[in-house]
Amino acid sequence: MEDEGELAHEIRIELERLGYLVRAASIAEAADAARVGDAAMMIMDRIVFGEDSLKTLEVLRKEGIKVPVLVISALSSIDEKVRGLKAGGDDYLAKPFAMVELAARVEVLLRRLEDLRTTKLRAGDLEMDLIEQTVYRGETRIDLLPREFKLLEYFLRHQGRVITRAMLLQEVWHYHFSIETNVVDVHISNLRKKIDVRGTPSLILNIRGAGFMLNAHA
C-alpha cells in the first residue's frame, strides 16, 4: 500500500526483480488479501491518502492475522516507530530509504517465522550455542564480546540475506538513528578478524552499496 504512485512503482519493480509477486492495493484490498491469506507479507505506508493504515493493521492483528508487515512512513521519530510496531508492524522503515534497505528488510521478514526455537546456529564449520553462549569454528573456540556475540547471532539467523547497516544498528545496538560514521564497518571487521580463518575467504561479505551478508558457501 503506497499513496505515492512512483515510489510504489519502484518498490514493485525492485521486489519483482528479486522474484516476488507484488501487488499494489488500497487499505481495504490489502486487508481482504490478508484475511484470506493471499499475501506472504505486506508493506504498508503509514498514511495512505490521508488515512492512517495503522488502524487497519490493529484490527487485522486483533482478528489474529499474523502476516508480516513492514510499515514505511514519512514519520521517522522513535515514537512513531514504536507506535508502528505496537500496532502490529514487524519492522518500520522511514522515508527516504534506498531500495536495498527495503529489499533486505522484506527478505528478513519473510524468513522470520523460521528457526526461532533453535538453540544452535550453524554456518559451515562455525557453530554458535545460544544456551552456552559459545562459538566454535571447527574445533577452535572463539571468544567474543557480548555485543560481538549478538552481532554474529544476527548474521547467523539471517544467513544469505543482505543485512544493511541501519538494520544492524537497530537490531544489535538498538540505536534508532542514523550514524554518520563507519563505526558499524569497524565492528564487522573486528568480528571478521575473530571468526575468519586465515587464508580462507571471509564468512561475512561486503555487499556494495547495501551492507553485508553472511554466507557459508562463499
Partner: protein, 463 residues
C-alpha cells in the same frame, strides 16, 4: 564598579544631582544677595533721610535728639556728631570727621575705628552734611550687626544646601538603581533570547513608560522574528519532506539502471550519481529528524534514564572505531546519573558528539567521555585532542548546515550538532563548546539541578 558608573542610568542620576546642586546654589545665592543688598540699601536710606530732616534743626534741639538717640542705642551701632567749621567735634560720640564728601549721601567705610575701643575697626556707613550755620553734621551706623546677620544667613543657606544635596543624591541613586535594575533585567533577557530561548519576552509593565514602550516594540519584533523563523523552518522542512519520495525513486531507478547496464562508462557515472543522492538522502533525513526533535516529543513522555549507562554503551559502541584510528578513548562515569528524558534521543545527541570527536581527532589522539553530577547538575562531556574550533566559528557551529573550514573535508550532513543541540534543549540542557587546548570540549549540562535523582533513589523498584 566602573561598569556601574558607565551605565546610562547612573550617569543620568549624577547629572540630576549636579543640576539640582547648581540650581539650589543659584537660588540660595540670589536670596543671599537680595537680603544683603536690601539690608544695606535700607541702612543708607534711613541715614540719608535722617540727615536731610535734621540738618535744619537748631543746635540745641539737635544735641537733645543726639542724646536721646545715644541713650536708646543699647547696641552701640549708631554714630551721631556735630563738628564746627574747623571740623572739631562739638558734641557726639565720634571724635574725628571721617574723610567722606559732605554731600548728604551715605558712604561706605570698610574700616572705621570702633567707638570707645582703640585698635578695633569695623565697617560702617556715614552721612555727612553741611548745616546752614557751616557746621557739619555726621550720622553713621555700624555694619557689624548686619555683617553678623549676613553671616547667619550664609550659614543657614549653607546648612540648607547640604541636606538638599543629600536628598538629590538619594533620589538620583534610587532612580538609577531602579532604572538600572530594569535595564539589567532587559539585558539578561535579551542575552538569554540570543542564546536560543526564543520564547522569552521582555517584561512590560502596565505603567507604560518609555522603557515599557521600547520593550513592547522589541517583543513585537521578536514575535515577528519567531514567525519568520518558523516560516523558514517550515519551508525547509516542507522541501525536505517533498524531496524524500523523488530521492528514493531516483535512487531506486539508478540502482536498477546500474544492474541492467554493462556499459562501464555509464556505470561509473551512475555510481557517482548514486553517491551524491546518498548524500542528499542523508541531509534530508537529518533535516526531517531535526524538525521532528524540535516539534517532537514533549517531556511528558520522558522516563527515568541513566546517563552513565547510555554513555557506557556509546563508549563500547564507538571504541573500536576510535581504535581503528589509533585514538585512545576513555570513559569516566560516576554511579548512575539519572534524569527524566528520552534515552534514544540522548543516545543520538551524544553519538553525534562522539562521532564528531573521532572524526576531527587525528591519529594517536584521544577522546574522553565523562558523565558527572556537578553541584547537582548532570553533565556529559566529550573532549578530544583534535583541531578544536576557531574562535570566529564557535558561535556558528550549532547553526543548521554550518560546517567549519576543516569540517568540509569530512563527510556528513552538517546537521549533527544542530540535532544534538535541539535534543539538549528539549531536555533543558545546554550544549556548549569550550576549548580543550588543544582540541574541543562539547558539554551537555543541565540547566537546573537533577530532577529525577533523589526521587529515583527512593522509588527505584527493588532488584
Amino acid at each position: 564598579m566602573l561598569e556601574f558608573f558607565r551605565s546610562s542610568a547612573v550617569r543620568l542620576a549624577l547629572a540630576f544631582v549636579l543640576a539640582t546642586t547648581v540650581a539650589t546654589t543659584a537660588v540660595f545665592g540670589l536670596v543671599y544677595l537680595q537680603i544683603r543688598d536690601a539690608n544695606e540699601a535700607r541702612n543708607r536710606l534711613i541715614l540719608e533721610d535722617e540727615a536731610a530732616k535734621s540738618v535744619d534743626r537748631p543746635v540745641d534741639e539737635l544735641k537733645a535728639a543726639f542724646e536721646v538717640r545715644m541713650t536708646r542705642d543699647l547696641r552701640r551701632i549708631d554714630y551721631a556728631a556735630l563738628f564746627d567749621r574747623e571740623r572739631k567735634v562739638l558734641f557726639g560720640n565720634i571724635d574725628e570727621l571721617p574723610g567722606i564728601p559732605l554731600d548728604g549721601k551715605a558712604h561706605y567705610l570698610a574700616a572705621s575705628p570702633v567707638r570707645g575701643e582703640r585698635d578695633r575697626l569695623e565697617p560702617a556707613v556715614f552721612v555727612a552734611r553741611v548745616r546752614p550755620d557751616g557746621n557739619v553734621m555726621l550720622l553713621g551706623r555700624s555694619l557689624l550687626e548686619s555683617l553678623a546677620f549676613r553671616r547667619i544667613v550664609q550659614h543657614a543657606l549653607a546648612a540648607g544646601l547640604a541636606p538638599t544635596l543629600l536628598l538629590a543624591l538619594a533620589i538620583g541613586a534610587y532612580f538609577a538603581r531602579r532604572a538600572s535594575r530594569r535595564l539589567t533585567t532587559i539585558h539578561d533577557t535579551i542575552a538569554q533570547i540570543m542564546k536560543g530561548d526564543m520564547n522569552l519576552r521582555l517584561p512590560v509593565r502596565s505603567r507604560n513608560d518609555t522603557i515599557d514602550k521600547i520593550s513592547a516594540d522589541v517583543n513585537l519584533m521578536l514575535d515577528e522574528i519567531m514567525r519568520l523563523l518558523v516560516q523558514i523552518k517550515g519551508v525547509s522542512d516542507n522541501i525536505a519532506h517533498d524531496l524524500r519520495s523523488p530521492l528514493a525513486v531516483v535512487h531506486a531507478q539508478l540502482e536498477r539502471g546500474l544492474e541492467s547496464s554493462d556499459d562501464e562508462q555509464l556505470r561509473a557515472v551512475v555510481k557517482q550519481a548514486l553517491s551524491h543522492i546518498d548524500r542528499a538522502m542523508v541531509t534530508v533525513t537529518a533535516l526531517l529528524r531535526l524538525a521532528e526533535v524540535e516539534y517532537g516529543p514533549k517531556s511528558s513522555q520522558f522516563k527515568l534514564i541513566d546517563l552513565s549507562a547510555i554513555c557506557t554503551d556509546l563508549f563500547e559502541f564507538f571504541e573500536p572505531l576510535a581504535a581503528s584510528k589509533s585514538i585512545k578513548m576513555s570513559l569516566e562515569v560516576q554511579s548512575p546519573v539519572e534524569i527524566l528524558g528520552d534515552g534514544d534521543l540522548i543516545s543520538e545527541a551524544v553519538s553525534n558528539l562522539i562521532g564528531n570527536a573521532i572524526k576531527f581527532t587525528p591519529q594517536k589522539g584521544s577522546v574522553n567521555i565523562s558523565v558527572a553530577l556537578e553541584d547537582g547538575r548532570p553533565a556529559i562531556r566529550v573532549r578530544d585532542s583534535g583541531t578544536g574550533i576557531e574562535p570566529a566559528e564557535r558561535d556558528k557551529i550549532f547553526q543548521r548546515f554550518y560546517r567549519t573550514a576543516s569540517g568540509h573535508r569530512v563527510p556528513g550532513s552538517g546537521l549533527g550538532l544542530s540535532i544534538a543541540a535541539a535534543i539538549a534543549h528539549l531536555h533543558d540542557f545546554d550544549l556548549r563548546y569550550s576549548d580543550n587546548d588543544p582540541g574541543a570540549v562539547f558539554e551537555m549540562v543541565a540547566r537546573g539541578k537533577q530532577t529525577g535523582g533523589s526521587i529515583s533513589q527512593a522509588n527505584r523498584p527493588a532488584g
